[in-house]
Symmetry: D2
Subunit: 387 residues, 4 copies
């Protein structure tokens, strides 16, 4: 098993079952993913063949009930999976997050029985891939301003508008698309071959390169009535999905930080300068200590959040705190690790530069750092400072 910094012995509190799930995730990442990620990162491709394997391992929508083919595990075990996937690459965790938290979760929570039965087992198995269309080109931090709209048409709706920065847009079999109907936000399931629906891959990304990101556009795209999510009304439906995803990111960020921290630690113990390992210099130790201390905070936040989530005591502000803190922590950790590796920090022989680049996306998506600052600010003061 890979080294996992555990200064406060949190992982020793895992149950046997959680330990096994954790180990399965570690094995998968180390054996199936690490050998190929560097090439995919260079080429800006995602190893789509891994999606069914993720499904087989129960890593897609893991918290949803077994009746729909899901693993039905608790939030701690789910968090550990996210941690390990992002120890591999943020792109890998993103794929699992999108599938589980942004596609399967809304179908399960807001969908009809028929929608659930049709989609959830296939999505859980990784036989089908989904994507989540909320963000628009001009509405990133303010989804309430969305322009995409649905108009009643025959036995369904005509969908018009566009969505931006959509993970897996080009490989998705189904898109969960949010649009305004009579001024109120609703969710629609849009299969990939629907006329009027096109997805265009975004090129030239230097972050999450091993992830497919797309722009979706809908041009008088007809959606039959039964493809609307019946229970989702208003913006709080897609926001509840974001909460699920952010929870996973809070765990995932720890994985990324563990990857870069352990790489820097190992490097510092073997890299000799002035006849001794650089780990013996005060300026290097200080950097390692800040990393390890910050990772420990992030772990405590994530473990406690899992507990609160399992007890249904979690609130959006708690998740904002953990997402905001842990991703910034992971980004700082990657930057520090990059610095410790000096010249070796810029080549893809080491995972560091890749993680550092990835985290620039992770700190932005699912609520930028500033958005989470203002969510928390409102929670603490009772006053909104968004506008």
């Amino acid at each position: 098993m890979p080294a996992t910094l555990d200064l406060y012995k949190m992982y020793e509190t895992l149950t046997t079952e959680e330990q096994q799930i954790w180990q399965a995730a570690q094995n998968f990442v180390d054996k199936e993913f690490m050998p190929i990620i560097s090439a995919h990162h260079r080429d800006a491709t995602f190893p789509v063949e891994l999606i069914p394997k993720l499904g087989k391992l129960g890593f897609l929508g893991s918290q949803l009930p077994e009746e729909y083919g899901c693993a039905g595990i608790n939030n701690r075990a789910y968090g550990l999976i996210m941690q390990e996937l992002e120890r591999g690459d943020s792109a890998l965790r993103s794929v699992a997050s999108v599938q589980g938290a942004l596609v399967m979760y809304p179908i399960w929570r807001y969908g009809s029985q028929q929608q659930k039965e049709h989609w959830l087992p296939q999505l859980a198995a990784g036989e089908k891939v989904g994507c989540f269309g909320l963000t628009e080109p001009d509405f990133g931090s303010n989804p309430a301003g969305m322009l995409t709209n649905a108009k009643p048409h025959k036995d369904g709706f005509l969908l018009n508008g566009s969505k931006m920065w959509i993970t897996n847009g080009n490989i998705a079999d189904v898109a969960v698309v949010w649009a305004k109907l009579d001024g109120k936000v609703h969710g629609f399931l849009v299969p990939k071959d629907t006329p009027g629906f096109t997805a265009t891959e975004i090129k030239g990304k230097f972050s999450l390169r091993a992830s497919i990101t797309s722009e979706l556009s809908f041009n008088d795209c007809f959606i039959p009535k039964e493809n609307m999510l019946p229970e989702a009304q208003g913006l709080k439906a897609p926001l509840s999905c974001l909460s699920q995803a952010r929870y996973g990111i809070a765990w995932g960020a720890i994985g990324s930080a563990l990857a870069t921290y352990h790489c820097a630690l190992d490097y510092s113990k073997t890299r000799i300068q002035f006849d001794k390992p650089i780990a013996s210099f005060q300026l290097i130790q200080q950097q390692l200590v800040e990393m390890a201390s910050d990772i420990t905070h992030a772990q405590l936040l994530a473990f406690r959040l899992a507990e609160l989530k399992d007890q249904k005591q979690v609130r959006p502000a708690m998740i904002s705190l953990a997402k905001r803190n842990n991703v910034r922590m992971a980004l700082n950790t990657a930057r520090t690790a990059r610095n410790i590796l000096a010249a070796n920090g810029i080549v893809d022989e080491y995972p560091i530069m890749r993680h550092m680049m990835n985290l620039e996306t992770v700190i932005t998506y699912e609520g930028t750092h500033e958005v989470h600052t203002l969510i928390l600010g409102q929670h603490l003061t009772g006053v909104s400072a968004f506008e």
Copy 2:
């Protein structure tokens, strides 16, 4: 009860008994201490009359066994007491830390049965006061270099040397003094009226003003054999006391931060500028959010540390991490609070400047920030970078 930021609902996990102890500490601080601290801070005096009250409440050496008149409580309850005392003032917590962790603890752990029976009940009751003499003028971060020494003389020893920055030195009935005997560190109990022992108060402090700090000097000071701590041999004995004290500081720092955070939060909600409360400005919210996020980390560290300590799984590096992080956090929080209060932040009508000044000591004593960096650095890398 005073407001206590609890974003991750940690205080809701307290047992009824812990809740009661916590409340007793809050009441004591709010009713007995808050009304007088400002005057003591101005005058640079400590309210010695409170020491027996601390004793009566069981706040001195609270974790030690009841057979010696102590409260025998667990580490979480003890931590909560430290938190509340330092919410009052770092000087108040320091007095309790010195008495409990640095005087009673070594007597209990390293003392003879007779020493325990003689001193512990009186110290627990606050009828007697103790101090701890380890640091020397030229040996702050490197206690191993101490010059104070004991030489065999008749049925005891002659003690020579001096100790610096000793809390309560001038009011102590007994000093636990560490000195080298044949090159090995030993502990000695030195009653206040021992010939050759003098204590001089250090004046002109602008930190921990409400605390008495002294220089001790020993000039052919005769110590009878039975005043040596029989079980303490080598530097690890006083270092084990520091671990106890640092644990309490890690909790205490949270109390200080809660005091300055809540003051700044309340101020920001009522202070109007440009026709609205300053809490509604993004630049103010950002500062409050950083404070609240950092306090949450510190709370998680402290609660977990208590658990590990109760399970006897705690290691010095864990305590270093929490002391280092939590005190820096409290200092940053005080500085930010000072900034939010603007001009009002500099007057003692508010507790902020006092806490900010105090924490400059707290970040230095019981191991400076740098010392804890290097303790952790050594723990992580396996290499010492002290020298």
Copy 3:
């Protein structure tokens, strides 16, 4: 002469006359001020007997013309005086700033010929002391909201309202008071014994202790017509005074930083731990390097600003940049120096804690850090974000 960090050889560019003025200021501070400041800081008093000496040396209103008894020197020489006075203590520089930039400057710029002839020579000589009343209890960052007002009455005005945080309020012979007359801000000269005018000293400050700070109140206080500043109309008049004062603060902050930097450097070279000077540890060198690098930036800003001011090219945003940066720099430098001195950093045997405490005021007055952020933000973006 005291050591002055000069990594970029800026002080070597001084003219002979500037050198002489600089030296006179250094001598004054070292010989007349340093020996007494510690006691004044402890007692919270200002050495008023030094004011005439400042006058004799030409340090009050130094840039104003010689015809009014002023020194008529350039902005660089004036800056060097401010630097040296604040190397002594921010309180000393504050007194000179208030007298020169906030009292003499508005009289010179906005006053009648008679006002100039009456007040400027006495103020320049330090025979009379002035104060500046702009800030009000509820209007710190937003002076436009002031409530103090003047109503026409006989051959003058009745002044009502109160002013807060007024340096030298209790020792001033004359107050320059800003009040609204028919909704427009005007300036009034209020002699100390004017009926209805009272000044109350603010107690319990733990910053700028060696400075007198007062609340002024005006209760139907009659001001004869000839005491109004005829040329000052609107808020831009008092704001122009603030620009003068902020310019001086930008230089003064360097002086404070030089005091704490040199103290920490000297300490680190003589303090031995682990058998070598702490200056030889990487963690200490890093702190010294940050201080020295930041001081160098501040010096370059100040020297360039002097040049631009002499060429009448200076703009408020430039001054905001230097005030904001240099005071934060000085505060950070003091905090770092405090840390390097460890326990010795908290006693007034060293100047460090005093400077650190002082700078909490300096970063707040004449525009808080946030206010200058928003002044600059507006300058850069063209959009105001104040409200």
Copy 4:
């Protein structure tokens, strides 16, 4: 001309000639380089066809005398060229730095008359390309430890060893290689087709992608006597070249920061969220203000350094200060700009991610941040803390 932040009106102090050179560099970058950089960055290639154009413009070895075909300009004009080239891309400035400061400079300063006459005009014209071989795989921060060595052989030397992270190694016509001869460092000119000399391009870089970086290896590579630099003896010869290069980097970093700052400023003024430009939010203004303030410091450092260098008053510690500060500033600026652009910050439609990635190399090469900290620390304290 492109926008150039100039809060302290430094660029207004340029002479007409300096203005013209500056403009020529701006034109070249904007017209010849900006249209192609994005593609080269994607493909990890350098536009070698631009090298002769750089030569024609006088941008290669610009400060060296005209008798060798160089421009013979002053240090300020040279700095402005570096600024503009790095505003394009750090790779472009690196090519000019290597050619001018690391190849032409040592030939000019340490070479024979014949070496100068042969190489300088061709290198100045960009007809030939050079590289600089100092760093070795195991000796980055400590070049004194180099293993590459030369042994006398017939009328010359046999060179053995390897060099790492060599910019332009694969396209260079000549390498300036540093090796030990009898334990003392000497410089050798190694033409590209010398038997035993091979260059291997380093792949998988995610920083300075538009730059060719190589490993050089020398295997009994015969160097005729006349290819040794006669005047270079000891490590101070290559270190003097590094000083030249670092000076250019201090300027170049400003160019990179100007690129990312102006991009973020423009974006913030046009990007609408919550119905107003994001430039009107306090949290965004604060970020822009820090960037602009830091760029201003860097400009003042660079302009003053140019003056000191032209007056031959420059010292290595001054250059270390500017290199260390300005590159960290540029990196922070790029990171902040990335954040302001949110999702758009990760695509190469904008230059920001590219600059951010590049600067990870720039902060490492020619002395890491830590190395410059310790150079400055030694300068300030008189004690070395390198080992």
